[in-house]
Each structure stands twice: as structure tokens, then as C-alpha cells.
């Protein structure tokens, strides 16, 4: 039987383009804020799970080599985890596993990136494609997701406006989140429609910004939780599922890997009707249209109903299943930290500490992440009550 585990401390840096801190300096800031958040000291941490997205995004290599001391990993175990865009989610899950295994009692998960350190992020991005089969099109991220978007819109009879509605919802939510990068007052559908087309059918408004940020979470075993905090977020389930890239009959607009992850996560958390039993959801919407597709993968609605769920207003802050009250990845994307931000935001909602974008009375919250060729999905569900 695995040890019960809770999140006891969270540390975030603001998402922005920042020239005041080096990469270790950025990790240091998130680390110190997480320690301060729960009143722990460096020596209280037994092990560190460390994340960073593909190194070529910022021209470094093997950064845990010189960032270890910045996150307190001196003379203690350090594990590097790497799964592309969802790395922050995989790191949080790895830290959870370390504690759940019973081998460690208090473990730090930390992940981040400084995406502004290249003037050619798309070259770095194109290196994640197979050099022989794929990199020839130097697709980068926007155009790969644009292909997913055009498939989704045409398959279900939706149009550009459905993605832009997500952008408007999340950008307005972000105004309430001091850690978000894009905080634009009076953001309207009309304004979003007038932004330039970058990769049809995706406009500038459909895309995330490039951020420098790090996020840290501290996980503790049940018997240590009480002494650290009286307001933990219990881990109800943690799941990571990978699907293939270009397998037989893959439908880019129907993420079976996410559906599988969601079914496992709900089963382990004892959730039968996710739309009713979850109080808030944070999804990794690096591009607006993806939020609609993830609604479906997460069974908040049926396949093909994502656009209509958006239209209904149910996923707004005041709706019955609010999605991305923080503004989501669409308003802050460092890649390395983004999937952990989704988990940390879900945990904060459960703790009732999300500030201005807190949803009232949250008892169960889900945080999601995706990475790679829209293929690696991570899910964590947190609860106010001990499982």
C-alpha cells in the first residue's frame, strides 16, 4: 500500500521576460518561495526531482549539473526528469512517487525554463523532430498545433471563433493572477479576431507567450504533513500516459492518450462523473483550441462537444466547471514550468489560497499537462480531504 501524500508548499515565480536572473537564479527564487511557503529549511528536504524542457530551447545542456545547488540539492539525491512540454507535470508525479514509495518523506519537485534566451526559439523547437523524418518541415510548435486545430474545427463544424472564445475567457481570468504574463485589460472577441494570422487557423490571440519562469512544489508523507501544515492538498491520483506520434488511424483531434489518463485518474480518485465531482480544472492550453480538445479528452463532455461546452459558459470562472481560472498556459508559458503550474494552481485551489482567482468551495481539482508531439499527458487530482 502506497504512502498517502500531500502537497504542503508551493513556490512560483512570475511569468515574464526577465533579464535580472540567471537560470540557477530563477530556480533559486521558486525554491526559496516554496520553502518559505511551508516554513521548511533546505535540510528538511530529502530528495529533489528536477525538470527542464529540451535544452536547445535555451542553448544549455544537462542544466541540473550547475543548477543543483540552487535548489538545495547538495549531498542529497537529485533526479532529472524530462518529457518535453509536460516535464513540470512529470516532475511533480516523480516527486509524488518518491514519497509514495515510502523511501523518502519530504521531496521537492522543481522545473523551469528561460525561453527568452534564444532569438530563434523555432530552430530549437525544430530539433525535437526526428532529423530524418520530420525536421525537414521545421514545423515548430505553432504550425504543428495549427494542423491539430484545422482538423478539429473541420471535423466538428466549428470555426476560429471557438478558439478565440477560449483566449478571451482565459486572458480575462489572467487579470486576476499576478503570476500570469499576458494581463491585458478589456480583451474582447473583436480584438482577438483582429490579431494577425500566424499559422492558419491560429492567430496571435490563439497562442501562448514565451515566458521565463520556474515552479516548485513540496510533497510530504502522511505522517509528516500535520507538523508542516494544517492546510495540505492531498494527492488523490497521479497519472502519466504516452501515445504515439503517427500510428495507424491517429486522429490528432481525438487524444486517446489523454482519455486513457483521465479514466485511470478518475478511477483511482473514485470519481464517476468528472464534470459534477471536480470543482475546478487547470489544463495545458498552450494554444486556445487545445482547451476545447482537452475538455473532451478529460470527459468533461463527449467527443466533439468541446466547442459547445465553451459556448455554454460552463467553463468560465462562474460556471459549473471552471477551467483555467489562472489564465492557463495561454497567458504564461515557460514550457519547463507550465505543466507544474497547472498542478500547483489546482493544489492552491484545493487549499483555498488561489487569491483573486480562487473558485469558492473547491474540494477537488485537476491539473493537466501535455508535451512532445501532443502525446505525453499528465494528470494530478488533488483533494481537500485525506483519501
Amino acid at each position: 500500500m502506497a504512502t498517502k501524500v500531500a502537497v504542503v508548499g508551493i513556490g512560483m515565480t512570475e511569468n515574464k521576460s526577465r533579464w535580472d536572473l540567471s537560470l540557477p537564479g530563477l530556480y533559486r527564487l521558486a525554491y526559496q518561495r516554496a520553502l518559505e511557503d511551508c516554513g521548511l529549511k533546505s535540510e528538511d528536504i530529502d530528495a529533489v526531482a528536477f525538470g527542464h524542457s529540451p535544452e536547445y530551447f535555451e542553448g544549455v545542456n544537462h542544466p541540473e549539473k550547475w543548477c543543483g545547488e540552487a535548489v538545495g540539492a547538495l549531498n542529497k539525491p537529485l533526479f532529472r526528469v524530462h518529457t518535453g512540454g509536460t516535464v513540470g507535470g512529470s516532475v511533480a508525479i516523480a516527486a509524488y512517487y518518491l514519497v509514495a514509495s515510502g523511501k523518502f518523506e519530504v521531496v521537492l519537485a522543481i522545473s523551469g525554463n528561460k525561453l527568452n534566451e534564444t532569438s530563434s526559439a523555432q530552430i530549437g523547437l525544430s530539433t525535437v523532430y526526428d532529423p530524418i523524418m520530420g525536421r525537414q518541415f521545421a514545423a515548430g510548435a505553432p504550425s504543428a498545433v495549427a494542423v491539430q486545430a484545422s482538423k478539429y474545427y473541420s471535423q466538428y463544424g466549428y470555426n476560429e471563433d471557438h478558439g478565440l472564445m477560449v483566449a478571451v475567457k482565459n486572458r480575462n481570468n489572467a487579470l486576476k493572477n499576478p503570476y500570469a504574463q499576458l494581463r491585458i485589460p478589456d480583451y474582447t472577441l473583436e480584438g482577438a479576431r483582429n490579431t494577425p494570422m500566424l499559422c492558419h487557423p491560429l492567430r496571435l490571440a490563439d497562442m501562448c507567450p514565451t515566458s521565463d519562469a520556474a515552479c516548485a512544489m513540496i510533497f510530504a508523507a502522511e505522517h509528516r504533513v500535520e507538523a508542516i501544515t494544517d492546510n495540505p492538498a492531498w494527492v488523490l491520483s497521479a497519472v502519466a500516459v504516452n501515445e504515439g506520434i503517427n500510428y495507424v488511424d491517429r486522429d490528432w483531434s481525438k487524444p486517446i492518450g489523454l482519455r486513457k489518463a483521465a479514466e485511470l485518474a478518475y478511477e483511482r480518485a473514485g470519481i464517476k462523473d468528472p464534470r459534477r465531482e471536480l470543482d475546478v480544472v487547470e489544463v495545458y492550453d498552450a494554444f486556445s483550441v487545445q482547451e476545447l480538445i482537452w475538455y473532451e479528452g478529460l470527459k468533461l463532455c463527449d467527443w466533439g462537444e468541446g466547442g459547445r461546452l465553451m459556448e455554454s459558459g460552463a467553463t468560465r470562472m462562474e460556471g459549473d466547471i471552471p477551467v483555467n481560472p489562472s489564465g492557463g498556459t495561454l497567458c504564461a508559458n515557460s514550457i519547463g514550468a507550465s505543466a507544474m503550474f497547472r498542478k500547483a494552481e489546482a493544489a492552491l485551489q484545493v487549499m483555498g489560497r488561489a487569491g483573486e482567482h480562487q473558485i469558492p468551495g473547491v474540494r477537488r481539482a485537476l491539473g493537466h499537462g501535455w508535451g512532445g508531439g501532443i502525446q505525453f499527458h499528465t494528470i494530478m487530482i488533488f483533494g481537500k480531504d485525506k483519501p
Binding site: 523555432q122 521545421a138 504515439g244 500510428y247 483531434s253
Partner: protein
């Protein structure tokens, strides 16, 4: 005294990537025969392009002999790229997409051309336009051009 903000440099790393048997076969035949080859899964019987050793859905080996496939199909999804960035295959705006070649069960990524960009639609029939001079790479096919049904 100045506090230096950042250090700017360019990294250059050369590589020699090995194609392996199936990728070599795919590109050699593209060049020599002007034919796209795929592989048939011994379990589900479906054909995937390019040639490959294992079906990514069943994990079963593919048949030993590669299968020639049609250079016609339809657009499963596409994008028009307006955003310029270094290393692009063409000057924006240009279109590329996922193409479902007739008789195959996965998607083949390539450029879409020979048509005004605003006329491209999901579901359109397309056919490969070949380069007369072929070097054994993806651009032995110039692009896929829409054709009448």
C-alpha cells in the same frame, strides 16, 4: 562598474544521423522509382508510410517487402504558415498538411502547393508533384497539389 546583462553567442553542432534500413529504403526508392513506399502490419494488415519495421499501434512487425502506395490522397488537416522564422522550408505564406494517401492508414506530412492558399480545404483530393531531379530526400516531391475528384 557595469553589470553585464547577458552573453550572446551562436551554438553550432554538426551531426551525422544514421537513417537505418527502412528510412534508407524509403528515400532510395523515392529517388530511383519515383514511388512512395509503405509497410504492411502483419497483425492489423494496415499500411503505414513511410516504410517502418514495426506497426506503432499493434507493435507487430511489418511484412518484409515494402508496399508501393499511391501518390494521391486527401488533406486530413493543414495549416498556412504566415510567421517567418529561420530554417523554414519555404518563404511564408506557404501551406503544409497531413495527407492521407490512398490505401494507407496513417498520415504523411508534406507541403501543399500549386493552388491559391485560400482555396485549400480539409478533405480536398491531392496528388504529388515530383521534382525531375531527385536527390533522395523529402523534396523529391515538390508538394501535393489539389486535383479534381
Amino acid at each position: 562598474m557595469e553589470i553585464v546583462k547577458n552573453v550572446k553567442r551562436t551554438c553550432y553542432v554538426p551531426y551525422h544521423w544514421c537513417y537505418g534500413y527502412y528510412n534508407t529504403l524509403f528515400f532510395e526508392r523515392l529517388k530511383e522509382e519515383k514511388v512512395i513506399y509503405g509497410s504492411r502490419c502483419t497483425s492489423c494488415g494496415k499500411v503505414v508510410v513511410p516504410t517502418t519495421a514495426v506497426c506503432a499501434r499493434c507493435f507487430a512487425p511489418t511484412e518484409k517487402d515494402p508496399v508501393p502506395v499511391s501518390d494521391e490522397g486527401y488533406i486530413d488537416s493543414f495549416t498556412i504558415v504566415y510567421l517567418p522564422y529561420p530554417g523554414q522550408p519555404s518563404t511564408p505564406p506557404y501551406a503544409y498538411g497531413m495527407i492521407k494517401l490512398d490505401g494507407t492508414s496513417n498520415l504523411f506530412m508534406h507541403m501543399i502547393g500549386g493552388v491559391p492558399l485560400e482555396e485549400i480545404k480539409v478533405g480536398m483530393r491531392v496528388k504529388a508533384v515530383w521534382n525531375e531531379e531527385r536527390r533522395g530526400d523529402f523534396y523529391d516531391i515538390k508538394y501535393f497539389q489539389p486535383v479534381k475528384d
